[in-house]
């Protein structure tokens, strides 16, 4: 599928992203220092801590140096894979990200899967019978999902399924606190439990995932459904579909093989955007479900002016964005050979 030339092109794409990433690094660095809020003052705030402690902390963090020098030190660390230390957790940012990114990825990917299995059929349905009652119902459903913000739907789901009916496990993170964790391979619990063959643990992790993933999925059902519908509409009205119908091909074949495949291009692009947005914007869901992910981590860090942690988060998001776009472009070239990764 990927030829040697293709691999070279992918390599070039990644190299081409470096200036953009550098820009992001510089922007995040300056932004954190321009915003009011001094981490040293925030953290040296125990009773009796005075100016001496603030200065000591500032020195420890290197904040007593000039800005360009601080930036050089930061870059130097980045080259070694050192994102600096977080004051909120007292660990290195790299370690925090390593622990938390899989949690966010697992949640986002599950939510994306949930929303796709709902929105693709709905979009196809709405396009096939465009203008029908079905179409109206789908539209109403999408509007409803879109207008309820995640923190409302999240709290509502917790209230109903945990508090009222006791069907869902308590909303306290990825796994029941008494369950031993599997040997860490990917950091994604579903995969690690499966690899370890611990299906009771897998089931627990899956149960913990259902509510937060549903909350996140609800919010992105609307854009995905509408995009599927629009793309499908233009395809089902085209000549080759009419020909297929005239030739008497079975409807399922027309819908799935000929229409959907051709309609997937814009949908896939939307998926890429939705995924990147979800990763950064799921902070409310992570907060409600005590999900130890990167977004809630970044919010806490921002409130505390924890420079290194926020910068690390922004950099990670930018990197993910680049990677997701690359993957989407690769997938597009699989779907449509006319598209190549340039």
């Amino acid at each position: 599928m990927i030829s040697r030339a293709g691999a070279t092109r992918i390599g070039l794409r990644i190299v081409a992203a470096v200036p953009a990433l550098l820009g992001v690094i510089l922007f995040a660095f300056i932004m954190m220092r321009v915003l009011p809020g001094d981490p040293a003052v925030y953290f040296a705030s125990g009773p009796n801590a005075g100016q001496a402690e603030i200065d000591a902390l500032r020195h420890k963090m290197g904040l007593d140096q000039s800005m360009p020098l601080q930036f050089l030190h930061y870059l130097e660390g980045l080259v070694r894979g050192d994102l600096g230390n977080s004051l909120v957790t007292g660990q290195t940012v790299t370690q925090d990200m390593r622990e938390r990114l899989p949690a966010s990825l697992e949640l986002t990917l599950t939510a994306l899967m949930f929303s796709l299995v709902i929105s693709l059929p709905l979009g196809v349905l709405a396009a096939w019978w465009a203008g029908s009652m079905w179409d109206q119902w789908v539209r109403a459903f999408c509007s409803l999902c879109f207008c309820v913000p995640p923190f409302v739907s999240g709290i509502l789901l917790v209230y109903l399924f945990y508090y009222m009916f006791g069907l869902a496990p308590d909303p306290t993170g990825r796994i029941n606190i008494f369950t031993p964790l599997p040997h860490r391979v990917t950091g994604m619990l579903l995969i690690d439990f499966a690899l370890a063959g611990d299906w009771a643990g897998w089931r627990q992790a899956a149960e913990q995932l259902i509510l937060p993933a549903t909350t996140m999925a609800l919010f992105v059902i609307a854009p995905l459904t509408r995009m599927t519908r629009a793309a499908m509409l233009s395809v089902v009205n085209s000549d080759f579909i009419r020909t297929a119908r005239a030739m008497g091909l079975p409807t399922w074949r027309i819908v799935i093989v000929y229409s959907l495949r051709n309609a997937l291009m814009p949908v896939l692009t939307t998926i890429g955007i939705v995924f990147s947005t979800m990763m950064g914007a799921n902070v409310l869901v992570e907060k409600i479900f005590s999900w130890p992910g990167v977004a809630s981590y970044a919010l806490d860090a921002l409130v505390a002016s924890d420079y290194a942690a926020v910068q690390g988060f922004i950099l990670l998001m930018a990197f993910l964005f680049v990677m997701v776009n690359l993957v989407i472009d690769l997938l597009l070239s699989v779907l449509d050979p006319r598209v190549t990764v340039e």
Partner: protein
């Protein structure tokens, strides 16, 4: 284009739907219920270090360290109504020390260690360990260093080993807070033989290693620590430092960060968590009506919520303006709107000029008197009033928002136009430290509930906790005198003078002491309000 709905297309559509139909909530209610001797504590804050002296450690870290590390001394506790307890600032008893003797000139403190005390790894506690731990509190960059200066302990030379289980502390002057400082969360006693193995040239006190590891001997051992997520503890059965030598009730304690307050409330109410102390006031009121949980409400006797002025800048450098504002505030309305009356007012006392006793914080003679406020404004040279900004932090929104509205309305009546400024915590703290806030609300909590200490900490010196940046020479000399005063009557007179001076000069307006509401499962007993405002796991038990 028209579509023909036939049997096949309907089936196809249905199968598509079924493939991705609504995800059924298969979650079983198989919830590992908390066992009888296991306690699950949920908190909105996060524990970021196991060493409370680390620069930047959170309040939750202080709370945890009380159960993990022993100090030489500890404050006792006293019962309140309904089976609740609060710490007793007047009683200091030995924790790792068996007893403590203070010489007649109050300059020498001799501590006798428990001869049978052992660390978590089973090795005996030695005088060398204690000496190393005390030295650590006065050297290096940690929060313990400034705390220990408030007890006149600044140099390792002051700590001497005088016997197999005896340590002597010498003070340059009879400092009244020296012994109390040994009970502070920062004064942890460390297994020095273990910690030293991880000390390096750059880090002689093993501060790096102790952030994520322990070398302790307290009531609980740390089983696992995931910063910002959870900590799990197991009881140390060899621990004998309670007043009566008994062991804590709970064998296992889990302290978990649950950021969403509503989620914490649901967890406790459904019985999946045992205790939480940081819930929203409206949740607590609703829970009190449903009566499924136990709510222990205890006044935070070492706290005060206040309005602070920047006393070094116009117009608040004018004492008449400060008095006018103090006379214009609608205290009762503020108390009702912000705390729903759940607290202890620090206004509305009936005495004048001289306080009836020297306790502090205590209710002060502050009352609403609009005509007087207007007269004071005119006398101050502001008959038309002025404009100012009132600030508070986002984390205090629930109480500060109604307060700000009431302050704005009340001061409008005497011509002061108030602009309200809600700031993120880090921004607020920075501006507070840099003296850029003219007028704001905040809450202070002094760890040592002694009148002198409160005035020393909150009303003198150029440092952040001098909320109103007050520089009053009379106050400074009173404090310097009171600190080393051996004669109790003279000390009491100094404290009375400090309170009178505060009332006369109004550098800040004391408002109230909020209550701490501990919401727990109904069988939980022994909740104790501690001066560090965290759950003390050691005191809790199940009925």
């Amino acid at each position: 284009m028209t579509q023909v709905i036939d049997r096949r297309s309907v089936l196809a559509a249905l199968s598509l739907l079924a493939a991705g139909g609504p995800v059924t909530l298969a979650a079983s209610a198989a919830r590992a219920r908390v066992g009888r001797t296991t306690m699950r504590h949920v908190t909105g804050g996060s524990i970021n270090t196991l060493d409370p002296t680390m620069l930047g450690s959170t309040r939750e870290s202080f709370g945890l360290s009380m159960s993990v590390y022993d100090r030489l001394m500890t404050f006792g506790r006293k019962p309140l109504a309904d089976g609740m307890w609060t710490f007793d600032p007047e009683t200091l008893r030995g924790e790792l020390a068996e007893r403590c003797e203070v010489s007649d000139d109050q300059c020498t403190i001799t501590l006798h260690l428990r001869p049978d005390a052992v660390w978590h790894d089973g090795t005996p506690v030695t005088a060398e360990d204690i000496k190393w731990s005390l030295d650590r509190c006065v050297q290096g960059h940690s929060l313990a260093v400034p705390q220990f200066t408030s007890g006149s302990m600044t140099s390792p030379d002051q700590f001497r080993i005088v016997g197999e289980h005896m340590i002597q502390i010498t003070l340059p002057k009879p400092d009244r807070l020296a012994v109390a400082n040994l009970a502070m969360p920062y004064a942890i006693m460390i297994n020095s033989r273990l910690a030293r193995r991880y000390a390096t040239h750059d880090d002689p006190w093993a501060q790096q290693w102790l952030q994520h590891n322990t070398a302790a001997g307290g009531a609980y051992r740390v089983d696992s620590f995931r910063p910002g997520i959870n900590v799990s503890l197991t009881r140390n059965d060899a621990w004998k430092s309670t007043a009566d030598g008994s062991r804590p009730f709970f064998e296992h304690v889990i302290s978990q960060t649950v950021p969403e307050a509503t989620a914490r409330a649901s967890l406790v109410e459904r019985g999946d968590a045992d205790i939480a102390i940081d819930l929203q006031a409206y949740d607590i009121i609703a829970m009190a009506m449903r009566k499924r949980v136990k709510i222990s409400s205890i006044v935070q006797s070492n706290c005060f919520t206040h309005l602070a002025f920047d006393t070094q800048r116009a117009p608040f450098d004018n004492v008449l303006v400060r008095r006018a504002i103090a006379a214009a505030l609608p205290y009762d309305d503020m108390f009702a709107a912000c705390l729903f009356g759940r607290g202890q007012p620090l206004y509305g006392a009936r005495w004048h000029d001289v306080a009836p006793d020297i306790s502090f914080p205590q209710s002060l003679p502050l009352a609403t008197d609009l005509p007087r406020a207007r007269a004071l404004m005119a006398e101050a040279g502001y008959p038309q009033g002025f404009e100012t900004t009132f600030s508070y932090t986002t984390s205090q929104t629930t109480t500060a928002e109604p307060m700000a509205a009431l302050v704005q309305e009340a001061l409008g009546k005497i011509g002061i136009k108030v602009r309200i400024d809600k700031l993120p915590d880090a921004t607020f703290n920075t501006m507070q430290a840099k003296r850029e806030l003219p007028f704001y609300t905040d809450t202070g909590a002094g760890w040592i509930e002694r009148t002198y200490y409160f005035f020393y900490l909150y009303f003198t010196r150029d440092q952040r906790w001098n909320f109103s940046n007050w520089r009053n020479m009379r106050m400074v000399s009173l404090i310097e005198k009171a600190r080393f005063e051996i004669d109790e009557a003279a000390y009491e007179q100094d404290c009375r003078d400090m309170i009178s001076l505060l009332i006369d000069q109004v550098p800040l307006v004391m408002l109230w002491q909020p209550k701490m509401d501990a919401v727990s499962s109904s069988d939980m007993e022994g909740f104790t309000y501690q001066y560090y405002r965290q759950v003390d796991f050691r005191t809790l038990s199940r009925a």
